[in-house]
Symmetry: C2
């Protein structure tokens, strides 16, 4: 079969790789029909993070995908060949202490797609722990291309935006500031809107993305290089709920600075070059920091139900579509910021 | 009147200062009967933090005190001359957005005793916003020396330990790790015990203080220089609730390292030399950080009720008593760690 392989900074290729097959009785093999390129894939692509011990044949990539089950191991109970399934970006056994608490990202047997495991940017994937990992799509979603595109971001960015909002304590009537206008930030706006936030201020640097934030429910957008005074002014002293959706030092500091005293920053940006969170910005004002890597598996049923009902559609963040051969171009487009997020249709 | 004055590192003196008097209609004047020296007073005493613009006559010190009202302004309603009252370490108007939410430390008109305001380590204090700040002691407490000593730590360290425990989400049955065996850490143990924690692991460096932690309810003590493996071993992977009661870089990192995935660190140690909280220790494991400066005023009624009922007694942290003339010796004893915390009886 063919799959995208990361060979080094700026170098993603589509190559022949071994076909996946059932290796453990809890495995499934899934033919991938849709996948995405993630902003976090870009860290290594841009050379911003080291990829230690990269083998000469490179590493599989892609942790956002859905597809059709083609084979299952003898112990798999919840999915069967022919089922259309969606996978969160972390696989998990579904039975450990953390999975049963809804923190599947800390699964004692879990892992992220790609790297030492199959990546989703390819024709097929072996999924460990199929029962703990895969979620069968509702029939209406499975058969409707527009709903498949709406479901696809639930694998990561929509679940992550939702995690930021939940972690920040967003509820009906909340005032929320969202730091970042990438796919996660935009999904954070959508998640806050879905949870009933009354005021949503989107902070970013790109007019077109902030326009999408407005479509997703942002009531105000701030494009200033120093957004802190503007947000504090708009909110009369800061937002009680802040979503940090970038992961850089300056974004984290901005998030703390726009938080209202006693407020909570939901942090979901993958930390990249964060020297350290300045406790001095938090202590005197009782700012809390909650979040981390999103347990997408825990959120999938709830978010999928809304997709199936036509009430949740994050697919506008997928503003370019390529086929498998187009994956290298997709990486380049995201690196050059000519696309927010690229969908791959096999 | 006479009061302790900070003149510079290592130099606290008892000197003549102006008598306090009513300046605003919401003021009260309180004759101080009991006060404490705080670990945070030691930062400047030890020269670990700069005290900019220290005037030649020095600055008043002491933010933990209780006493008897001697005069009130015409708008004061809740206390009257003769009342025995206790003050939280921050005064607050009691009416602003933050006070009404219980976050009195963010009061828009508030401040900390000492510095530009009267300090509690002296014969009397002018209290701004008497109605918003002072709490009348229950009669049983006001007339009983042992209960006055039990109430005194509620001005700061006991309220702060309680804030750490509440922020970390301690409830009945919790497993808790407490980083720090100073007065705040010990009160954190007591607070966790009071909230019904089942397992309380105290981390520290001083055997005698950890013995007191055991009296306060710690089920385990760890005195290792590298306590992380021991705590992770005792808890089978980390504690869901961690109280950070020190405020140094190493204590913050230890607190994160001993937290269980998905756990919460309640941070209350006054940050001193914290370079930055490493987000990398938090992100992948969904560790939350909640807390800050304790809104002692919000907690006073609840904690005082338990003192009055004989169910809460943090006074063993007050292991030395001096009179006003003994304040300089009290500072020296705490700086040399021959006393955990010094009480001043006027």
């Amino acid at each position: 079969m063919r799959a995208a392989v990361f060979r080094g900074p700026g170098d993603v290729r589509v190559e022949q790789v071994p076909d996946p097959r059932i290796e453990a009785p809890t495995d499934a093999v899934v033919q991938v029909t849709h996948a995405c390129i993630c902003g976090s894939d870009l860290w290594s692509y841009r050379g911003l993070v080291d990829v230690p011990d990269l083998p000469s044949e490179g590493r599989r990539v892609g942790h956002e995908w859905l597809g059709v089950v083609t084979d299952v191991g003898p112990e798999v109970r919840s999915v069967a060949p022919g089922d259309r399934v969606i996978a969160p970006f972390v696989f998990s056994d579904g039975t450990c202490e953390f999975c049963t608490q809804g923190l599947h990202t800390s699964c004692v047997n879990g892992g992220v797609w790609g790297g030492d495991h199959d990546g989703g940017q390819g024709e097929a994937v072996r999924s460990p722990f199929a029962d703990g990992t895969l979620v069968r799509l509702p029939p209406d979603v499975a058969d409707e291309p527009a709903l498949l595109a709406a479901a696809l971001p639930l694998t990561d960015v929509m679940a992550t935006g939702h995690h930021a909002a939940v972690s920040a304590g967003v509820t009906a009537g909340s005032t929320v500031a969202v730091v970042g206008d990438g796919a996660v930030g935009l999904c954070g706006v959508l998640a806050a809107h879905r949870l009933g936030a009354e005021r949503i201020i989107a902070l970013g640097h790109h007019r077109d993305r902030l326009d999408l934030a407005s479509r997703f429910g942002a009531t105000d957008v701030v494009i200033d290089d120093d957004p802190v005074p503007a947000v504090r002014d708009l909110t009369g002293g800061g937002a009680p709920c802040v979503l940090e959706c970038v992961g850089t030092q300056s974004a984290v500091e901005t998030a703390l600075d726009v938080a209202r005293d006693g407020g909570t920053v939901g942090y979901v940006g993958v930390p990249a070059g964060v020297k350290g969170v300045p406790l001095s910005k938090m202590f005197g004002r009782n700012i809390a920091l909650r979040g981390g890597v999103a347990p997408a598996r825990a959120y999938l049923p709830e978010l999928l139900a809304d997709v199936a009902a036509g009430e949740l559609d994050p697919s506008p963040v997928l503003d370019r579509t390529v086929d498998l051969d187009g994956v290298p171009d997709g990486y380049a487009a995201m690196a050059q910021r000519t696309a927010i997020k690229v969908m791959i249709e096999m």
